[in-house]
């Protein structure tokens, strides 16, 4: 409760132009934002750019924040938009080198446990919009209603994105199973980041 009160006070002060208060807010949130961006865009440099962009936008736009109590959700939304921008930048430059650290792995068929690398490959093939709702749901533990409010999306859209994400993931895993040769070639650094 104490930290909440402090953050609320910092938000109010930062809205009035207090850069020290903003610095406190940025320090308190930067790790979380970066971690979220990294799982969404699947690239450390892009995640860094997206986080920085989100925080700079937060500073610029803070005076227009209508509900200081919704600062956290607002910050998530800025981050998500920055991730979308990064996704677009990747596409426009054709810099799809997101799988450079990937090493093809042998699927564990017997245990029912999906290999992390396969999960990673499948997740990268999802559109960014679907990755975002999946991450907010699983990592931040937001309900579909909370995601809808945070992102300003209709609840139905959130639900369908979650559903499509799971269906897409499943299809990607099945396709991965069927095409081992292609999987290896994709592992050399193309094919991801189509969000």
């Amino acid at each position: 409760m104490e930290s909440f009160r402090n953050e609320a006070a910092d938000v109010t002060r930062a809205m009035a132009g207090d850069h020290d208060a903003f610095a406190a807010l940025a320090n308190a949130n930067v790790d979380r934002l970066y971690a979220l961006a990294r799982v969404i865009v699947r690239d450390a440099d892009r995640a860094e750019d997206a986080t920085q962009e989100a925080l700079v936008r937060a500073w610029r736009e803070l005076p227009k924040l209508r509900e200081p109590a919704r600062f956290q959700a607002w910050l998530w939304r800025l981050l998500v938009n920055a991730c979308y921008d990064e996704g677009r930048r990747i596409r426009s430059r054709s810099e799809v080198v997101l799988l450079s650290d990937h090493h093809p792995a042998i699927p564990d068929e017997s245990s029912g446990v999906i290999d992390r690398d396969r999960l990673d490959r499948a997740f990268r093939r999802l559109p960014l919009e679907q990755r975002v709702v999946t991450v907010l749901s699983h990592v931040e533990g937001l309900t579909h209603e909370e995601i809808a409010t945070t992102l300003g999306l209709p609840l139905g859209t959130v639900k369908s994105r979650v559903r499509y994400a799971l269906a897409g993931l499943r299809s990607a895993l099945e396709a991965d199973d069927r095409t081992p040769v292609r999987r290896e070639s994709r592992g050399q650094g193309v094919g991801g980041g189509r969000g």
Partner: protein
């Protein structure tokens, strides 16, 4: 959700949580501070007035009141107590009561065609765009407003606060209606006054409404119902003869899991991942047709267009036959004009398709997550959701 999907979902969650424990590099924070110390904050639209400015405003306000009172006294006939009320204002658009500055549209070109782009600002979230009552209208879900624009210059005429999440339009003879997609029901937009009414209807709509069988139909998929509004009742509401009600004017048809609607070959359809279904306007029931499957996007009048996530198909609803397949994932919406379809693809621009031959005529590289492309007032209008832009592209 089947067992495999549930298991996959669980493992996905575990993996994502493990992946999200990374700490930010120190240079990131330094970079933010370096930029923000140089970056000015964006202030509110209207800065606090100084005492001198306040005095000027007060004098101006008194002058406006005096002139208005004089004008009213001159225009109105003598009226005693109990005389008939004056008629409603004529359909001349008035200024928006909340008109605040939007950036001017910028002239540009797109794939060789002259174009204009209007940027609504951060996170306005434009969804639908239509032509009605001599203007272009956009529904901006995040900024909770409908924007009325000049069809030639793309200059904003009015910004109209409308519900809590205006998304999709329906146009009737007297008014414009917009779905209140993060709230509930419909909102009336009066083109004569540029004012919005209160929302009515308790379910949350999703997708574009459809006019058919003397009714306006709107899917409310989160509530598992389809809403039906009688167009005669809507006309009464638009004319001020009837106050919008949450219950008595609206039929709610049970339609669990069904999303979106389309009117094709004289029949009303809805659908979901399991298949296409028909809505019977007489019995107000939904019957599954057994034709697999996808989200209904719209109809060209005869066939239904379905989004199947990885592609878009045209289906003949008479027998479920797929007439054509278009290999576009992330499709947004489809509209139709003069024998052509305009299909939006997020990140893939706008696709023009010849309806007679199913040939893709061209791809217009509109940037961003294009959502609705509609021919109107001699141009193609396109909303880009994530970048909050409206494009006007010359043919």
């Amino acid at each position: 959700m089947d067992r495999f999907s549930a298991d996959l979902d669980r493992q996905l969650g575990e993996w994502l949580r493990e992946e999200s424990t990374t700490r930010a590099p120190g240079r990131l924070v330094e970079g933010v501070f370096a930029q923000t110390t140089r970056t000015r904050q964006v202030r509110r639209w209207w800065p606090p007035a100084s005492p001198a400015r306040s005095l000027q405003l007060a004098v101006a306000a008194i002058a406006v009141v005096a002139v208005t009172a004089f004008a009213i006294a001159r225009l109105l006939p003598d009226q005693g107590v109990g005389t008939e009320p004056t008629p409603r204002p004529t359909a001349t658009p008035g200024p928006s009561p909340t008109l605040s500055p939007l950036p001017s549209p910028q002239a540009t070109s797109l794939d060789g065609s002259p174009a204009m782009v209007l940027r609504f600002g951060i996170d306005a979230g434009p969804i639908d765009v239509v032509e009605a009552f001599g203007s272009i209208w956009t529904a901006n879900i995040h900024s909770h407003e409908v924007v009325r624009l000049d069809a030639t210059t793309v200059q904003p005429i009015a910004r109209i606060p409308a519900g809590t999440g205006p998304a999709w339009f329906a146009v009737t003879d007297d008014a414009l209606w917009v779905t209140n997609q993060t709230g509930s029901g419909l909102v009336l937009i009066d083109p004569a006054t540029n004012l919005a009414g209160l929302s009515f209807g308790e379910a949350t709509p999703c997708g574009a409404p459809v006019l058919a069988f003397d009714s306006l139909w709107a899917s409310a998929c989160d509530s598992n119902v389809i809403l039906r509004f009688d167009t005669a009742d809507l006309a009464d509401i638009a004319a001020g003869r009837r106050f919008p009600s949450n219950s008595e004017l609206i039929s709610e048809i049970t339609a669990p899991g069904y999303r979106w609607l389309a009117f094709a070959a004289g029949r009303l359809f809805t659908g979901n991942a399991a298949g296409l279904a028909e809505v019977d306007p007489t019995t107000e029931t939904v019957t599954d047709l057994g034709f697999c499957c996808g989200d209904v996007m719209g109809s060209d009048g005869q066939t239904i267009w379905l989004n199947r996530v990885t592609d878009v198909v045209r289906m003949d609803p008479a027998d479920g036959r797929i007439v054509a397949t278009f290999p576009y994932a992330n499709a947004g919406s489809v509209t139709f004009a003069d024998g052509r379809a305009w299909l939006t693809v997020s990140g893939g621009g706008v696709i023009e398709i010849d309806l007679a031959s199913n040939v893709v005529l061209r791809t217009i590289p509109v940037p961003g997550s294009t959502l609705v492309a509609r021919e109107a007032a001699g141009a193609l209008w396109v909303t880009a959701f994530d970048t909050s832009e409206l494009w006007r592209i010359e043919p």
